[in-house]
């Protein structure tokens, strides 16, 4: 039997971060990490296996990060959490813990569509073998349909399209792809880009069934049309993987995740949970939130890892920050969009600017960058932002995220000193974050 002071169950991004954080906060404790996978996929890198990287082996999280942090790795399938004995039953023997951190992640949602079990229909599992099979199957496919136009769907579509020789179609139920994270003008730009790259994008498309005789042959839509398919990829979301927690009678939350308080403590004070498996509340209003993102998992893991032997940190709730890239176009989002904010009952004032991301515009690499900031009208507190531009968008969205998290106002942002450089950013005169805040202030005064 193995024993450790802190045991982390799950070896993906949340589990690894919880382990590293526990090591930093508890330098003298024995820390173990149990996972079933021999090799761990970088979750966000999975779409890029198919076009850019070329193989699942190029998308691994190296175990060296565990060794460096003196985390004992146990590769084993956990079959049971014995809370009374503080012991995990595993395929390789028992593991005793003083404190347990659950980071069991999520599983892809399988929609209740007829035909979803046909040969050739793939969900996205974070598993090397499964992803390799998907790759082999792709080599022979000529009509690929992706159900779901969220970020996983569009990233898969573009990467598969890069392989060449295939008709790739994205089917999205909502009127726009990415509509849970971007306002319509941003979504439309991404749809147009995908279309210009040869991908068929169908929005407001309700899938009625997946057709085929043993093997998938088409996807039938509610409007009576049908899209030929010799392969279907499901990109419609994920649900918390809570099977072991449920068996151990840990309390579950309203969206189906493991119930935790703001310290990431579960209903058992010796057990914490973080990442996709944990129930979440929104930063805005505090209601249950179904979001599952790396940015959230990371925060929760840093809270759980710090708190195991005395509470040190609390979560303010999930913001929803992420970015995506297709070709030269990158888009980032943080917090609420204008549409989402209005739907939730906020009155908002927005500032939107578009400007070259270099100055002068004749500098190499110049491309337009667009920033939209969403403020609550009366307090003028920033509640969301969206950016569209080139690779630097991946970092711009984090400036916005920091402002949302610290509840900065339009005036705070208008008063920023911001660094600029001809080869790296927009002109100081029109620096887009500051300028968008100034525009929102002008509008609020009117």
């Amino acid at each position: 039997m193995t024993t450790a002071d802190i045991v982390i169950l799950g070896g993906s991004a949340a589990g690894i971060t919880a382990a590293i954080t526990a090591r930093r906060h508890h330098p003298d404790k024995r820390i173990g990490l149990v996972r079933k996978e021999k090799q761990v996929m970088i979750p966000c890198g999975i779409p890029y296996i198919y076009g850019t990287l070329g193989s699942p082996q190029k998308n691994l999280i190296p175990d060296s990060i565990l060794e460096t942090n003196r985390i004992d790795l146990h590769i084993a399938e956990v079959t049971k959490i014995d809370r009374k004995e503080r012991r995990l039953g595993t395929s390789e023997g028992d593991v005793k813990y003083e404190r347990l951190i659950l980071a069991t992640g999520s599983l892809p949602t399988k929609p209740p569509i007829p035909g979803v079990d046909l040969d050739g229909v793939f969900a996205i599992l974070k598993d090397v073998e499964h992803l390799r099979m998907l790759q082999q199957r792709l080599q022979k496919a000529s009509d690929v349909v992706i159900i779901g136009g969220g970020f996983i769907g569009i990233e898969f579509a573009d990467e598969i399209n890069k392989i060449g020789g295939k008709d790739v179609t994205v089917l999205e139920l909502a009127p726009n792809c990415l509509s849970l994270s971007y306002d319509p003008d941003f979504c439309t730009e991404m749809e147009n880009l995908l279309t210009s790259r040869g991908i068929t994008v169908r929005t407001s498309a309700t899938v009625e069934r997946i057709a085929g005789d043993g093997r998938v042959s088409a996807v039938a839509l509610a409007d009576g049309s049908s899209v030929p398919a010799d392969m279907v990829i499901l990109g419609i979301g994920a649900r918390a993987n809570v099977e072991l927690a449920r068996q151990a009678d840990l309390r579950l939350g309203p969206t189906g995740g493991i119930a935790v308080d703001r310290t990431m403590q579960t209903s058992d004070p010796a057990i914490f949970a973080c990442g996709d498996c944990a129930e979440k509340i929104s930063f805005f209003g505090g209601r249950p939130s179904p979001l599952k993102l790396a940015s959230i998992a990371q925060l929760e893991a840093r809270i759980a890892g710090a708190n195991v032997f005395g509470l040190r940190r609390e979560s303010d709730g999930t913001l929803g920050i992420w970015s995506t890239a297709v070709g030269e176009l990158a888009m980032g989002t943080a917090g609420l969009t204008e549409s989402m904010a209005k739907d939730r009952g906020y009155q908002v004032v927005c500032g939107t600017v578009e400007t070259p991301n270099r100055h002068p515009g004749a500098m190499p690499g110049a491309a337009p960058v667009k920033v939209k900031l969403v403020f609550e009208l009366h307090s003028q507190v920033l509640i969301g932002g969206q950016v569209r531009g080139n690779t630097s968008v991946g970092e711009m969205i984090n400036t916005i995220a920091a402002c949302v998290q610290k509840r900065m106002t339009a005036e705070d942002i208008a008063m920023f000193q911001m660094g600029t450089h001809p080869a790296l950013t927009a002109s100081p005169i029109v620096y887009p974050l500051v300028n968008a805040a100034e525009l929102a202030l002008s509008q609020a005064r009117q």
Copy 2:
């Protein structure tokens, strides 16, 4: 005679921004801008004229931004400020004002070195004709010496080196180039890069005199050595252009700028000043600050433009945020370096991390990114940061800048939700801002 409610004197970045801000805050006022230049240079773009852009004409700020904002442009040389009559005397007749904003900028410092007036020695004036002359002279030069290894010096060195066929030498008085803005390890990296690109970098180099007979032929150093030169460029800083303010008996400050309070009001309540011409205090401790940067000028212009008819905004002082780029290497800095902080009497704790800026590292465009955060030890408030990496550094430094400005702590930053993406940023597990904060916290606990 021309009359306006608000007159801005100076048409570069600070003047334009003050005018736009005044328009936003005072939609119904008549606003005029007086400048002597027919065409306005983008100040930070000047080095890039010589290698990347190819001509001063490609580095202009378009006047359309004034038209869009209903600013009346007067091209005239101002000879006098008549404060009693609230009137500017100009080469094209008088301009009457209700409120005046001075944005007269700075002039290059001419060092008291013998030979500084020889033919072939150039200061950097923000003037199209002067910069064109400098370009013509460069075409015939083969030995170019740049005195001063600050950002203007190294940017000029690299751009001139791109022309080809020249020996380019940078002479820096201090032990490192960029040492006023970066800690030594960052400086050394930039020096090594410049050297690898064929530029000679000499640090701890005291210039004794510029030699030549009418025309420059060499630069003589205090150690007895001599560097051949048929052209010398002075990149050693700038002083506030306060001649008109001095003649008008406006109070000047301890570093020679126009004295202003935190609202940018001068000793005359009808006159405001902003940008390089205005005296500044540091964000850290509030002492007089000699910094002159676009990031500071912009903030001051947004304060002055808002405040002319009733005080709306106050400055917290100058932070010092800027970035630079040479080839694929970009560096950004905000606030105090570790060395500067210690020199000023702070006890500090730092966190430094280096990680690939893509995940997995096999993603295209992957390069190492290094982040150093400097915290005050006892409060754990962020007082500075430095980043080295690729173009995204230009935006990363602004996340750090926002954190410094809002006096965030290491714990605030360790608790950030930050967006990440394989093609755009580092891995969430090691996202460098958060990770550097966590490391600083670990060290502070020890």
